[in-house]
């Protein structure tokens, strides 16, 4: 029972097809958010008990454990809570243009939302800085309607 670098067991290739799975999820909060985006509005769901506003909203408050359905509008401006500068893509290949990916808390919301920040040298981005959503000219009612974020 020792490590034998030279011995090779037989290798058999196999695949597991994830497209055979049928995921069912309640995406109502995501739909509320996406539909609002057609009107260039950030919509979340508020808990009447603790007052937390979720973007996108779940159907229950994750702190109070009660059902919630109170749709509220938030600002499309917010604060950078954390960020990174992406220098490699998801497959590990270096990216020619570095990109700021930020976690943003919209004013009026309690959750962090993800987006890219442009119009600033990546090294100048700071936690706590104010940013605003830059909308597409023609919105379609999906999460792609926010083109990017820029410093206020």
């Amino acid at each position: 029972m020792a490590y034998n670098k030279d011995l090779e067991t037989r290798e058999v290739q196999a695949t597991w097809d994830v497209t055979t799975y049928q995921y069912k999820l309640d995406g109502r909060g995501a739909k509320v958010l996406a539909d609002g985006m057609k009107e260039k509005t950030i919509r979340g769901i508020k808990c009447p008990q603790c007052g937390r506003v979720y973007v996108p909203g779940p159907t229950y408050c994750r702190v109070c454990y009660i059902d919630i359905d109170d749709v509220v509008d938030c600002s499309d401006e917010g604060v950078v809570m954390s960020y990174c500068i992406e220098m490699a893509d998801v497959r590990g290949n270096p990216m020619d243009e570095h990109r700021v990916s930020a976690m943003i808390k919209f004013d009026g919301a309690d959750t962090w939302f993800i987006g890219t920040v442009h119009g600033i040298d990546p090294m100048d981005v700071k936690i706590g800085m104010k940013v605003k959503a830059i909308w597409k000219d023609v919105t379609e009612g999906n999460l792609g309607d926010i083109q990017r974020f820029e410093p206020v």
């Binding site: 011995l7 999820l25 995406g27 995501a30 979720y54 779940p58 490699a88 962090w112 999460l143």
Partner: protein, 413 residues
């Protein structure tokens, strides 16, 4: 709390932790650590009352590895459960063995943990955690990996961890260079550890020469993917007295806690800062109370932190009360985290140097146990006498924490 004292009586590692064990299959590899644990304790298969078993879900594409390898883990005719709690799996598996023995149900339980990452695709395994949520968001127009406004996880798990690293740096006052320094320290520790995977003495300059994946994290700040297994044998006090020479490591405290998912919660909004890690405070407070530790910053002789990424060792020292918030990088600068320092941190090289994921959170308490017993093989033996040690596991969607305190003496009843 009325429970029996429980000890780790012995540890068995596979002969190596490497990228690809081509000479053995999964069950054969696991059995190496099981056999070594028996050899190190002088026990026979008949002495083992029950087996707990842990590895990651999906990573190797095997659904019931504990039953597939039943003979290899000496589980025939015995209770056997599989535990899979993400990065914390190894410690959860050991904690389950502890529950068995502390409850008085069994006397000697074997906890087996492993991963053979070369036989699967770890990024597919990780993606499986968020797949349904991500799919719903993609259907609503989220540009998950693209260049649009709502990009997400550049750089895979390192990309996700970079948000935590940046928040940690911001709130602690540490510089990105402190991550380089911690990385160099742990890799150099690993060079002394025969069971570490990446074993090369490494300088800060070596780390800084590696490319960035997502600022502030570099390639040199990230863990490897390893093949390897670890087995711990857990024993009641009565059996320790009867069957060993008494040189064991006592599990004097343990805790675990979760928060909400603090990363990649696309569908319901992320509530929590991934660098906040309240569960670490909750779990460690429980463990310290149980172990009778009042001031962890003074009473602990060593720490083994779960650190997939190099900034995390510093972050966990603060969250687990080994120092004040914002002080860990100062301890690093003062040399206190070195093997011969006041609170040697990851003398083993940490998860950051060896990461057979299912085993990673068991290697932390296993290393503490071996240091307490004076049975460390290799140059990473801590020169002072270790009386109390804290070990830690972390994982899930950045939110689940396990803590185990070990000591050279059992708790007095």
């Amino acid at each position: 709390m009325i429970m029996s004292n429980v000890a780790i009586a012995g540890v068995g590692y596979t002969p190596v932790f490497v990228s690809k064990r081509k000479d053995v299959n999964i069950a054969e590899m696991i059995s190496e650590s099981v056999a070594t644990a028996l050899e190190n304790t002088g026990l026979t298969p008949d002495d083992i009352d029950a087996v707990t078993f842990g590895n990651m879900q999906t990573f190797e594409g095997l659904n019931m590895p504990h039953l597939w390898s039943a003979e290899h883990i000496l589980a025939v005719d015995k209770p056997t459960i599989r535990i899979s709690t993400g990065g914390t799996t190894g410690m959860s598996t050991l904690q389950a063995a502890y529950y068995y023995v502390a409850s008085g149900l069994y006397d000697i339980v074997m906890a087996v943990s492993w991963e053979k990452q070369s036989e699967g695709d770890s990024q597919v395994g990780l993606a499986g955690i968020v797949m349904p949520e991500a799919m719903v968001m993609v259907q609503h127009g989220l540009d998950l990996f693209g260049g649009g406004g709502l990009s997400a996880m550049g750089g895979g798990s390192t990309g996700a961890a970079s948000f935590q690293a940046m928040s940690y740096l911001h709130h602690s006052g540490a510089d990105p260079e402190h991550i380089d320094k911690m990385a160099a320290l742990e890799r150099s520790n690993a060079a002394l550890n025969p069971y570490a995977h990446l074993r090369k003495k490494t300088s800060v300059e070596d780390i800084q020469a590696t490319p960035f994946i997502a600022w502030p994290l570099r390639f040199g700040h990230t863990c490897p993917t390893s093949d390897g297994a670890t087995t711990c044998i857990v024993m009641s006090e009565e059996k320790v007295r009867k069957m060993t020479d008494g040189n064991v490591a006592w599990i004097t405290g343990l805790g675990s806690a979760t928060s909400d998912p603090s990363t990649a919660n696309f569908l319901e909004g992320q509530l929590t800062d991934p660098a906040e890690q309240e569960p670490a405070r909750i779990a460690s407070a429980k463990a310290y109370k149980m172990a009778g530790i009042k001031d962890p910053s003074r009473e602990l002789d060593m720490a083994e932190m779960y650190n997939g990424f190099a900034h995390q060792s510093l972050m966990w020292l603060e969250k687990l009360g080994c120092c004040k918030e914002g002080e860990a990088h100062k301890l690093l600068d003062a040399g206190a985290l070195n093997i011969d320092g006041e609170i040697p941190t990851n003398a083993s090289g940490g998860v950051f140097s060896t990461n057979a994921i299912g085993a990673s959170a068991m290697n932390r308490p296993a290393e503490c146990a071996l240091q307490i017993m004076g049975k460390i093989e290799g140059g990473h033996k801590i020169p002072k006498k270790i009386r109390k040690a804290v070990s830690h596991g972390w994982g899930g969607m950045f939110q689940y924490v396990t803590v185990m305190v070990l000591a050279d003496e059992p708790m007095k009843s």
